[in-house]
Symmetry: C2
């Protein structure tokens, strides 16, 4: 039995609880929160909810701590700090800051003799693994990553910060023609605008200047100005009824050439279609937590990524079952 604990409680943590429930070899030992534990209602019966400060005192009872928090400010601070007392795993997803986060976590984990995994989920995570397999197998080729159709929480938050906006949900949508050209192996050069469109559902305050809101969205630098963006104003009721979920997904595609004269084309696509981004991310975290416990038991310490996990370590099945049924 691998004893897991969760640090920080929100959507992703609830997903981790659900994933642990689906894996008989994993158990949830505790949830730590920086809020008042009495006000945190978790899903799993009988599991203690404890204040964050109590975590270190429980370290002997926990094999791997899953650190749930935002990549902007929470994880860069929390994961290295917690790696001093625990084997840790997080879903840090700011691609550009991964090397710095890796270095900080690696130093803490090496000094304390723990194993740590950062950037576990689907992108970074399973998408990254598939980029790696595909580029190793097809050295001469081009990579494409398409996201969606799905809700981008960062873009939704950016729209919500516009004056006059009560609520917003932003969908990232791959351009079908671009996706088809890549799938056909054309290896096109695609601009940002040619790859994805953005669709915003917005609930405006009564009397708000909708034209001004729309202008503020479509011209927003970094978030929207490089895309063709559509804005639709809907009611609070429509938002609650039609946009309560957090679906997402996308495709990693590599198309490359083989043969002495590069006469053959080979295309690899890895595609996710997800009803729930946080539930799926949590499911990847749970499988990688299993691997983390096994690798630590073999003496591995320091910061690792999903690139360092031999697939066999992710599975509850033993070698014989894997050879007989999965290979």
């Amino acid at each position: 039995m691998t004893r897991l604990a969760i640090f920080g409680y929100g959507n992703l943590s609830r997903g981790v609880e659900c994933a642990i429930r689906q894996n008989p070899d994993l158990e949830l030992a505790a949830v730590f929160t920086r809020r008042d534990p009495a006000r945190v209602q978790i899903l799993t019966p009988g599991v203690p909810v404890l204040p964050a400060e109590a975590a270190a005192s429980k370290k002997e009872e926990i094999d791997v701590l899953i650190v749930c928090g935002g990549s902007a400010t929470d994880l860069p601070r929390l994961t290295p700090a917690l790696a001093r007392d625990f084997n840790v795993i997080d879903s840090f997803d700011t691609h550009a800051s991964i090397p710095a986060h890796f270095a900080a976590v690696d130093q803490a984990a090496r000094e304390s003799g723990h194993i740590a995994f950062i950037s576990v989920g689907w992108d970074p995570g399973l998408f990254s693994v598939n980029r790696l397999y595909a580029s190793a197998v097809l050295p001469e080729g081009s990579d494409y990553t398409f996201w969606g159709r799905g809700v981008s929480q960062g873009h939704s938050d950016a729209v919500r910060r516009i004056p006059g906006v009560l609520d917003a949900r932003q969908y990232t949508i791959p351009v079908p023609e671009a996706l088809e050209r890549v799938r056909r192996g054309e290896n096109p050069q695609l601009t940002t605008r040619e790859k994805h469109t953005r669709l915003c559902y917005v609930v405006a305050e009564d009397g708000a200047d909708k034209a001004a809101i729309e202008r503020a969205i479509v011209t927003m630098p970094n978030y929207f100005s490089d895309y063709d963006t559509t804005v639709e104003f809907i009611s609070q009721e429509e938002m609650a009824r039609d946009h309560a979920g957090l679906p997402h997904g996308g495709s990693v595609i590599r198309s490359g050439v083989t043969g002495w004269d590069k006469e053959c084309r080979e295309t690899i696509e890895y595609k996710l279609t997800l009803d729930s981004n946080p539930q799926f991310t949590a499911s990847v975290l749970a499988a990688c937590a299993r691997a983390a416990a096994r690798m630590r038991a073999r003496g591995v310490t320091g910061c690792q990524t999903i690139f360092d996990i031999a697939p066999a370590d992710l599975s509850p099945l033993g070698r014989e079952a894997l050879l007989a049924h999965m290979l």
Copy 2:
């Protein structure tokens, strides 16, 4: 530089030569053949073609030997024998016999202190890895593997053995409706007949009884009787013009549920579209040969599979580049 050699020369070996040429950190040191070396024309200039009996005398100059041969009779004999002198890798693909082949190769490799990889390619191989990742992440779900559209060499050979048949090419084709139902997450129960159809192009001898040939094909047990099979008679010229390639591919799909009440559906698809089955299989062999050399250098011995390779070991890139550009 990782020094590779090839044992046995055919379509797959030519693919290995092409793959080595695309990877600057791999070099081809020798080709060993059981035929007369003078009659074996390889692609790579300057590489010696040597008789099979000479292999052992070259073992100090070879990091990994890629064993190319049929799974029915060649590999079960060759891979364990060669593992006594070499780190070896093969593409053994008779799924039901993998445990026995593993055991034989493992014993030889452990006794001699070598590393050995069996069943490397795409199925078994990359498809297997994706079955494993998907089932580890989505423990409650169903797996589907669809093959094609592509040429099955075993089925083509079976048709060629029918009296009156001069040449034949068999295409395995997924049933589009079945594929769509699986992609939609319906998790249908599908019979063999409902998943794939088979299409045979046949060149018959002059005056052959075509109706008898067609009957012999569609009623052939194991190969065709469980499928809806279409037979088309074509000329020798049409065969050469339209069916010279060995395209293949397919999809591994897992659809599963997440959430406390299993209220979310998540679907993972891994899809290959290949102009050349042997070229692509050889490309996977080359990447795994790189991993084999690295793992052996770290002290790993015995039989391994693609499940035991941490993805990072497949890539020519170092950790910093992987973190910065691939994760």
